[in-house]
């Protein structure tokens, strides 16, 4: 049956099981929006395309499904760039549809034209410009396939208006044929055997677990490996929730703002078992001082991650789940009493701490943990709020912590919370924000109100761009250049009310818990404005370029 491009597009979304599409219309995508009106795919209208992109991302991270967003040509498309780059860095499966001017006008500087495939070349997993409507079914099929397989990532499909209106009678294909794309799923048996031998021979092993474990749904396998061989587990920021932090083997997060005990354990270990992690500079600190005595096993689906930053002794390229399943029977039970005792001592001697006086941001995060019994889905902005959210909430499940790790995008948390709430309508969702970050996509309050989403926004309001201020305090003699916000911040409670959301101001410790309870009970979006200590720092902290066991501050 002959269909126009816009119908092919909507049919493809339905076939791919897309529930929600986040976006904003514009001239060249009116045909697509028109067809969406009668389709089962629910359009979520945001107030800035960046919000649409991050919401699709949050939806994908919370659900494990592909997030989909749509924007018009030109500024609509360029407004997606930060969101696409954010998803790319953190391996989030997204399909971004951008409108494009009519094909005869492409390259002519037509109204609202931007070369999106060029602009996003290095920040997408792949991208397509569709010039013939009969390519559209194949391209959309490939886009979803590429986005969700292998190391997932964003795929952009640029769709000129005349293609949306052009006719073709090809059906949506059942299979893809991509000769150049063969993600490797199965780890090499020999390498897995070598890894098992190294684990069995190790006296001081550490599991270093990243976002890849969550993406590949292999948290149960990590749990089994850790408990079978008594291996302590530390996670990256994106790995939070891959291993229950309430478990005695948990070392919580490592790296620049990780726990002292995780950093000590890695430094003294004789074997680092990295799974779905990429030895990012914020994790390793000074490279030549990172785990100096350890052999390194690296299990990752992306061969380019291996031996990129650090020499790897036993690489295993493949899907983490399958590789771990193959590894488990080869690993012997072990108890490592001496090693675990050493770690316990570090935990006792160097716990995460803060001085309990005044209204502390750490306390707020702890109370969110307690009030939600550790069940909340937490999204974060970037900066101090992100690190406190990582340190002071105990994550016990995958997809519970949603944060921009690699690109470090301020303004991510609120739209991501909106996406997460669509993915998990019954969950309590908290965006842990700073007063700087929250302003970057504050317009999405209207979206939360429009769709009656009970998202909660906890602003740790210190009146500064706090993380930069902290660096200025520690390394630039408190010369606070460009970091003072408090002189002109809005009244966030009134902002919430202006949007038709609830606003609650909290200025003392005692008010924290009741305010959180009220927010959880409210069926509306809620802004909690916590007037926290303005110059509180995130500790411990490994200064940039230092070894990770050389931490400053924050230790008892």
């Amino acid at each position: 049956m002959r269909k126009i491009g816009a119908d092919i597009f909507v049919d493809a979304l339905v076939k791919e099981g897309v529930e929600y599409i986040f976006g904003i219309p514009g001239a060249v995508i009116i045909p697509l929006f028109d067809k969406l009106l009668d389709s089962p795919v629910k359009l979520v209208l945001t107030r800035h395309e960046q919000g649409a992109g991050h919401a699709a991302d949050g939806y994908a991270r919370a659900s494990g499904k592909v997030g989909v967003c749509i924007a018009t040509s030109g500024p609509g498309a360029t407004n997606l760039v930060t969101a696409i780059a954010t998803a790319n860095f953190d391996s989030v499966p997204i399909v971004a549809i951008t409108g494009q001017v009519r094909t005869p006008l492409i390259g002519n500087d037509a109204f609202q034209e931007a070369d999106m495939t060029g602009i996003t070349r290095t920040i997408t997993k792949h991208n397509f410009l569709v010039k013939d409507v009969c390519d559209l079914p194949r391209v959309l099929k490939e886009a979803f396939h590429i986005a969700r397989t292998g190391r997932p990532g964003p795929v952009l499909v640029d769709l000129p208006m005349d293609v949306s209106l052009g006719q073709c009678d090809l059906d949506y294909p059942d299979t893809v044929n991509l000769p150049g794309y063969k993600p490797n799923y199965k780890g090499n048996d020999r390498q897995i055997k070598l890894a098992a031998e190294a684990i069995n021979a190790s006296k001081r092993p550490v599991l270093y677990v990243g976002g890849g474990v969550i993406i590949s749904e292999s948290a149960p396998e990590v749990f089994e490996l850790a408990t079978k061989a008594s291996i302590p587990v530390t996670t990256t920021l994106l790995g939070l929730g891959a291993f229950p932090e309430t478990h005695p083997l948990a070392l919580k997060m490592l790296g620049m703002h990780g726990t002292a005990y995780a950093n000590y354990a890695v430094t003294e270990s004789d074997l680092v078992i990295a799974v779905g992690a990429r030895f990012d500079d914020r994790v390793t600190g000074r490279l030549d001082a990172f785990a100096p005595e350890a052999k390194v096993i690296h299990i990752d689906i992306d061969p380019t991650s291996i031996s990129k930053n650090i020499r790897v002794d036993i690489p295993v390229v493949g899907d983490a789940k399958g590789s771990l399943q193959a590894l488990l029977p080869l690993v012997r039970q072990a108890t490592h009493p001496e090693w675990l005792e050493k770690i316990d001592n570090w935990k006792k001697q160097h716990p995460l701490v803060y001085k309990p006086c005044g209204l502390k941001p750490q306390y707020v995060v702890e109370q969110i943990y307690e009030a939600t019994k550790g069940e909340a889905v937490i999204t974060t902005e970037v900066g101090q709020n992100q690190m406190w959210a990582a340190q002071w909430f105990k994550y016990s499940r995958p997809r519970q912590f949603i944060s921009s790790g690699g690109l470090g995008t301020m303004g991510f948390g609120l739209p991501a919370a909106i996406g997460a709430q669509f993915a998990r309508p019954d969950a309590v969702v908290f965006d842990i924000a700073g007063d700087g970050s929250i302003q970057m996509n504050i317009q999405e309050l209207a979206t939360a109100v429009k769709y009656k989403l009970p998202v909660n926004i906890a602003i740790l309001n210190n009146g500064f761009l706090g993380m930069v201020r902290q660096w200025q305090e520690l390394f630039y003699r408190k010369r606070y250049s460009g970091t003072i916000l408090g002189d002109a911040n809005p009244d966030f409670v009134k902002v919430a009310e202006a949007y038709g959301a609830d606003g609650i101001r909290v200025t003392t410790r005692d008010e924290v818990r009741p305010a959180i309870e009220r927010a959880i009970a409210s069926p509306r979006p809620v802004i909690l404005d916590f007037a926290v200590e303005s110059e509180e720092n995130v500790f411990p902290m490994v200064p940039a370029g230092e070894a990770i066991n050389k931490m400053m501050g924050g230790m008892a």
Binding site: T122, P179, G180, P303, T304
Partner: protein, 159 residues
Amino acid sequence: MRHVISVTVENKPGVLAHISSLFAARGYSIDSLAVGETEDPATSRMTIVTHGDDQIIEQITKQLRKLISTLKVQDLGETEFIERDLVIVKVNAATGKRGEIIEIAQIFRGNIIDVGQKDLVVELSGQENKIQAFIDLLRPYGIKELARTGSIAMARGAK
């Protein structure tokens, strides 16, 4: 260290841009790049000459493989391979010097492909070092214009 990397790609618009952006974005250098169709019109072969330590070369080949449109990536340094570069040089050839230049060209098995009043155009193919030696020998006569293709290469023996 110099490496010659042979990349077979889908013959589609945008693929060259993808590969050159990858090199630019990640700070890898391109010493030369030659592109052309292969025996199969649906694919092109790119021969990229680059340099870097082992870790960089490893990353380059892995990153190239990761691109969706690349079909095959081969670091030819790991095998026996054949390499050719083509140069055409327009060199000053005053009446008294013409013979010398033609002689040099013959020694290198080059061809004279155009003869002007005051100059000759010589074509030569070969490995990079041979081409370089040839250019160095012609330089004293005065090179007016020079164009090179950059290396093209393939592994020896059975495919």
